[in-house]
Amino acid sequence: MIEQNLILILVCLPFVGALLAATLPVHAHNAAAWISGLLLAAGLAIMAVLHAPVAAGGVVRALVLWVPSLRLNLSLRVDGFAWMFVVLVLAIGILVVVYARYYLSRTDPVPRFYSFLLAFTGAMLGVLVAGNVLVLVVFWELTSITSFLLIGYWHQGQAARDGARMALVVTATGGLCLLVAMLIIGQIAGSYTLDVVLASGDLVRAHPLYPLILALFLIGAFTKSAQFPFHFWLPGAMAAPTPVSAFLHSATMVKAGVFLLVRFSPVLGGTDLWFYAVTGIGMATLILGAMVALFRHDLKGLLAYSTISHLGLITALAGIGTQGAILAAIFHIANHAVFKASLFMAAGIIDHETGTRDMRRLSGLFRAMPITGTLAIVASAAMAGVPLLNGFLSKEMFFAEVVDWHNGTWLDNSLPWLATFASVFSVAYSLRFIVTVFFGPKADDLPKEPHEPSPWMRRPVELLVLVCLLVGILPGLTLGPLLNQAARSVLGADMPYYSIAIWHGLNAPLVMSAAALIAGAVLYLTFADTIAKGPEGPPLLHRIRAQRVYEWMMLQFTWRLPRKIYGATGTERLQPQLRLMVLLATGAGAVTLWGGLRLAHEMLSTPLNPAFALMWAVGAVCAVGAAWQAKYHRFAALVLLGGAGLITCLTFAWFSAPDLAVTQLLVESVTTVLLLLGLRWLPRRREEIAEDKLLPAKMRRLRDFVIAVVAGAGIAAIAFVVMTRPTIPNIGNWFLRNAYHEGGGTNVVNVILVDFRAFDTFGEITVLAIVGLTVFALLRRFRPAAESAGLPEQQQGEAAEALKDYLRVASVIMRWMFAPLIVMSAYLFLRGHDLPGGGFSAGVTLAIAFLLQYLGHNVRWVEARLTVLPIRWMGFGLLIAGLTGVGAWLFGYPFLTAHAQYVDIPVIGKVPAATAMAFDLGVYALVVGATILMLVAIAHQSLRSARLREVEAEAEAEAEAEREAAAAPAPARAPARAPAPVAGGTA
């Protein structure tokens, strides 16, 4: 039980630490370092406690349920392999913490660094101890994200930003692939629990999706472990501070990839596909990395490629997959972590103390920093595989595996040669690192005078080099048991104990090692000068840089190509969008009705009335005419539109819909006025634009004409088919039957609107209110185009002056119409429930009564006499309608339940009192308010621009005067205000 909690604590500790560190002030360097170090040390202590059960071959598990239904639970497990890896991560982590404390400068925001570092460590530990493959992916992606932050820590530099982004993009892509692989594996295994998955190797390998799984899985593993061709992000990540490189590229990030390969080799390994893919890529990476490393002039660049190369080696071992190979892989994971961490730190010290990492500038540093030099030499030797150092041992084991193991393929046969070849380069670059930096003449043009670093910066390196030596000399005593324990936890309990010895006699691996050492030394010493003068990379090959390919691909595939396709598959123009919608609707109708659109057997038919047909001849002519004139003769189009609307009204009346006819007529009037109000602000269009007569424009019009005709024919056909279909039982019949008895009104349409379906009306008046408000708000910011800002053409010139009184007589009639229109509005309102009419039509009528006053006079005249607060009308209208609806609650009925009753009033008799009437009153008030608000808001624009003109003229005159008086160069800017209060809003 305690152990379970300990695992949880182990994973949580770094995250908690990350939060803690993040909240520290920017300058709390020591505190942040102490927190980080102590937390990681605590982790080590936990691992110490866990050692006993793990050493006994057991697995410590912990489980926190997260999303059980997705089988996505925080399941953790520590076995020998994980244990060893966790210890490695924590130990090197502590050393990096110490090292970074002295490496980072005072000006860096250090707590943030530690915060990222701890978060990254937590994610890495999560990957190692995840007991659920999905959780593994979670942590896997978290390492990508946190490493992004770490690499980009010095984000002021372009290189850091690019490097971080590249690392993230590459590894997160891999993570997504891994996710799918894991999901499929879990699907096949029936569980996402790692234990079950590890036991289902046969099932997985036999599954038809195995190649796909393997491909996705390997993309995940290879991107992380920087295998060819995904290796390029790793050198790019060298822009990170050196402690980050020392951590990420020795024990953690990249090792997560090989960890996964080793971990899953029992599940996915053992097939030819696996061998070719994994060993093939591993060997390619090994060789390529080693070759490139030799030619890099940047210290960290050399180490980066060396890392790639060594990871290739481990990958190749995982691909071979024998017990020895797995053991060797694990061994090399540890060894590489130790010597590479120390080398990165050493490189960091050199950079820190000299100000450069360019090996062509560095020289003879041994005299200035002998201790660091010694440490670096030992570590390099381990990297080169010199005997008595840890690197030698695992390399020997690698050689032994490639020599001993056979499956008879060409790759298998060529492995020893390839391994030796790579080793030669490995020796050569190690040698170059030592020789160019520490030996030779003392460099005198370094940015800083070199000297030994502060001792605490060196301590981690010393410790690591000590480990190199200890493991190299006493492998069986130091790492042997742990290795076996780790390998057994991967491969199963039946693995025999491998004893690791320094001396196996004179055998092939030894010969290969010796040959590599000698050839490597010769290679470097022969070409040292050439390499130093050469380009950054191996001859010829340096021109093909994977990073450039990546960048090109990123540019092409994530920018240029998407933009191109996006541009081709989308548009920002309105017409194509509307055209598409029409086409899709027409197409959808055609597809669904193809062959299914049939006339009913017994068609309904109403006898033809020639008058009606004639009227529609008028309507059609008007509609087509409006369409034809709308571009150049807007006024004519407007008139014709009115004609079409009128015939539509007539149709409603003809086919028994008087309410519709009335409403449409009223709306028609208001719409015409609205459109006319708008016409004033549109640009003049007199001469035909020449382009219109060109062929493309004609073709466009032809195309649209065809579309319009087809769509129109389609809708006409549907209408015809339904119209002639026999009537079906519908809800309309119920309304007809019950309107009077249940709804208390004889006008069924009105009863539907204010009672049966009053909720529709309730929403509808809200729409009207919103639109009123929008129109009002929008017009507050209205500025006419320069062309329309002046007085209309008609009002300019002498003739217009003579027109001042043109309305004198007409306006009398318009004024006097105010009263009858109010009466008519009341009439339409009061009788709506029983006869055609109702709140809406009554409201519009009243609004027209007001409009007429505006038409007959002008805005100032009307508003000096009539005070209308349209927005208040709207507010009260909405409230009346809403409260009427809520009133039903008092009687225990749902919203909008209407009550109709006849109240007996003396003298007058029985008077109907229906709540529906109150609701209609709300509609009425709102409609009046909204309609007036819209009309008046537009009408006010003329007034506003008149004021604007006055103000501007005044300002201009002033400016003119000023210019003349003082010849001052900068006249004050005219206060461009147009504060015309619109009649709405507020009083």
Binding site: D805, V809, A810, V812, W816, A819, V823, L830, I908, G909
Partner: protein
């Protein structure tokens, strides 16, 4: 009183209108009165001054005269259209008539009469000179038209509105 009921005659007419639109009953009468008062009050806002109607009788006479004139000119104009303007002999003209009326309300009444009578169209009235430009569909003698408008209609209106 006159502030609350600025236009009593109009309000009366509105009550009548209400009763025409609905049907006569006590309830409707009361309702009509209320509505007419409200409407009249609202009109008072835009037209605060009551028109100076002195006598009503000339107006009634005018109505009778106009009704007859309308029928006559309907027939005349219809005939002109059917005969294509007496086969091309018809001549229309602008006739300017100096009017004595100045108040807009009687002028509006005159406009209604002239418009309702086919064959004459009100085009323009200049308040400064008092000249009305009329378009006459079928002119034989312009002075006859001046006489008609001034003596047949305008004089009655002048009588009524003083």
């Amino acid at each position: 009183m006159s502030r609350l009921v600025p236009h009593p005659l109009l309000s009366l007419a509105l009550v009548l209108m209400w009763l025409l639109l609905t049907r006569f009953s006590l309830g409707h009468l009361l309702l009509g009165v209320v509505i007419a008062l409200i409407a009249g009050w609202a009109l008072g806002k835009v037209e605060p001054e009551r028109p100076r109607l002195r006598r009503i009788w000339p107006l009634i006479r005018l109505m009778g005269i106009v009704s007859v004139d309308i029928i006559r000119s309907n027939i005349a104009v219809a005939g002109l259209i059917l005969t294509r303007g007496r086969h091309g002999a018809r001549k229309s003209a602008f006739v300017d008539i100096p009017l004595r009326l100045d108040d807009p309300v009687p002028l509006a009444l005159l406009a209604m009469i002239i418009t309702a009578t086919p064959g004459t169209a009100w085009l323009e009235h200049d308040p400064d000179t008092g000249v009305l430009i009329l378009h006459v569909f079928d002119v034989i003698d312009e002075d006859e038209w001046r006489h008609l408008i001034r003596d047949r209609y305008e004089s009655l209106l002048l009588e009524a509105f003083g």
